[in-house]
């Protein structure tokens, strides 16, 4: 057990005019420390490619996760894949990255563009061994991983980007490396890194990708906890218990809600200073309490956080507004989505008597629902989430 974790994020675009993607990424988490990621690119495009890549990635990831040897996996695929009528071959290229203890990676590459490893923001040349399995040349590497290593791998759609239009021969590995080195920021999540490169490919394609294009990034990062408290406990006697547990947690602390922040201020013996800056007219201003990293209003701010996190999951926009804005909701989103790997919610179930009024749109149920939805969503983007109720 170490203080590292693996952050995996990928994104695809379909060949222009196609409804199905012929690339497929399959991720298997064997535990928090071991992961298998397979990126398969099926021959051709559309349905056929989609089936080939789905079969390939599913078979490899399942077999690898169960400890089967690489030879076995590749032979199984060769024997299973349907043969293309037109081309008389069964074919899907793939890249497998298997991380062990977040410290070591086994990389297996078959015919996809070579994986790029960025270490400290610079391209790192890792050793490769070629081997022959069932008539296919497969490259295998075993490398030790460091914190903030980014392994970026793509389907061949990425290197053909811009061919014939923006460039003569598409952009090559060296140019992709140059691009990644230039864009590099150790704070990027794996998903952001993938989205950045994919976006550039789409740009080179002039918005009409000539092939399915997928970018997948595996990042090794430090575990970081963020704790968020919302609402006072149901039983007022539990205030001290809730506060002590909350502030005893390692990592950053966010306090949401008016009453809650007053209680936190009392517990810490510090005043709550509310600011009056409306950075976003929709989001109430934030406050400051010495010893708390961020103090915001509750339900309205968190509803906005939920929207922003949904945007991140669906990748509507890479440079979303919340990446740079300083309002309460954007600040929370950056902490939860970008910075945290482990999130602890402390949810108080007190019913605010002032809110139980038919004229007010905030009810107890909305608050509880909001927390549930947000924690589920954060889990789907790879966060370890724990919710405690008081």
């Amino acid at each position: 057990m170490n203080n590292l974790c693996t952050d995996i994020g990928y994104q695809s675009v379909n060949k222009f005019g196609e409804q199905l993607c012929g690339d497929r990424v399959e991720i298997i988490d064997q535990s928090d420390e071991n992961h298998v990621v397979v990126l398969a690119d099926g021959l051709g495009s559309g349905v056929k490619a989609n089936i080939l890549s789905t079969l390939t990635s599913k078979i490899i990831s399942t077999m690898m996760a169960n400890g089967m040897s690489l030879e076995n996996c590749v032979e199984t695929i060769a024997a299973t894949l349907p043969i293309c009528e037109m081309r008389k071959v069964a074919y899907s290229t793939f890249t497998i990255v298997r991380t062990i203890d977040n410290r070591e990676a086994e990389i297996i590459q078959y015919d996809n563009p070579q994986l790029i490893l960025l270490r400290d923001g610079k391209n790192y040349d890792y050793p490769k061994t070629a081997m022959e399995i069932g008539g296919k040349t497969i490259y295998k590497s075993k490398i030790e991983l460091h914190e903030n290593d980014f392994m970026v791998f793509t389907s061949d759609g990425a290197i053909w980007a811009g061919i014939g239009s923006a460039m003569n021969f598409g952009w090559e590995r060296d140019q992709i490396i140059e691009f990644l080195e230039k864009m590099y920021n150790p704070e990027f999540t794996a998903k952001t890194m993938s989205a950045l490169l994919l976006d550039e490919c789409c740009r080179l394609y002039g918005g009409k990708p000539g092939d399915d294009t997928t970018v997948c990034t595996v990042k090794i990062r430090e575990r970081r906890s963020v704790n968020l408290m919302l609402g006072p406990p149901r039983d007022p006697k539990d205030v001290n218990k809730m506060m002590s547990l909350f502030f005893a947690k390692e990592g950053k602390h966010i306090v949401c809600g008016g009453t809650t922040s007053t209680l936190a201020g009392e517990f810490l013996g510090k005043p709550v200073e509310t600011l009056l800056d409306y950075i976003d007219p929709e989001v109430p201003p934030i406050a400051k309490i010495e010893g708390v990293d961020l103090v915001t209003e509750g339900v309205i701010t968190l509803s906005r956080v939920l929207e922003q996190a949904k945007g991140y999951r669906d990748a509507d926009a890479i440079y979303a507004e919340w990446n740079v804005k300083e309002d309460g909701a954007s600040l929370i989103s950056r902490l939860l989505v970008d910075e945290a790997t482990d999130i602890n919610f402390f949810v108080g179930r007190a019913i605010n008597p002032a809110h139980q009024n038919p004229n007010l749109p905030i009810t107890f149920n909305i608050k509880m629902h909001l927390v549930e939805e947000l924690s589920e969503l954060l889990k789907t983007i790879g966060k370890r989430v724990k919710v405690s109720y008081f």
Binding site: G257, G258, T259, S261, T262, V272, T274, L275, L276, Y278, P281, P284, P285, A287, E297, G298, V299, I300, N352, A354, H355, N357, N359, L360, P361, I362
Partner: protein, 79 residues
Amino acid sequence: MKVTVCIGSSCHLKGSRQVVERLQTLVAENNLKEQVELSGKFCMGNCQNGVCVTVDDALFSVSPDTVDDFFKTNILAAL
């Protein structure tokens, strides 16, 4: 004089921002920045009557429509 506007959830929905911005403008227009300290506070526990505003310790209920009158009667007149 200290004027505090509630910016808690329900007062926010009832228009705290408009009240805050209008008060900021009025205070500036009347050159009262030295005399009137504007501040915010999360929930004053009186949500039904929002937007809650206190002038020193007296509690008032203000809405974006009544903020100008409120300023005249309770701030300007009281100075």
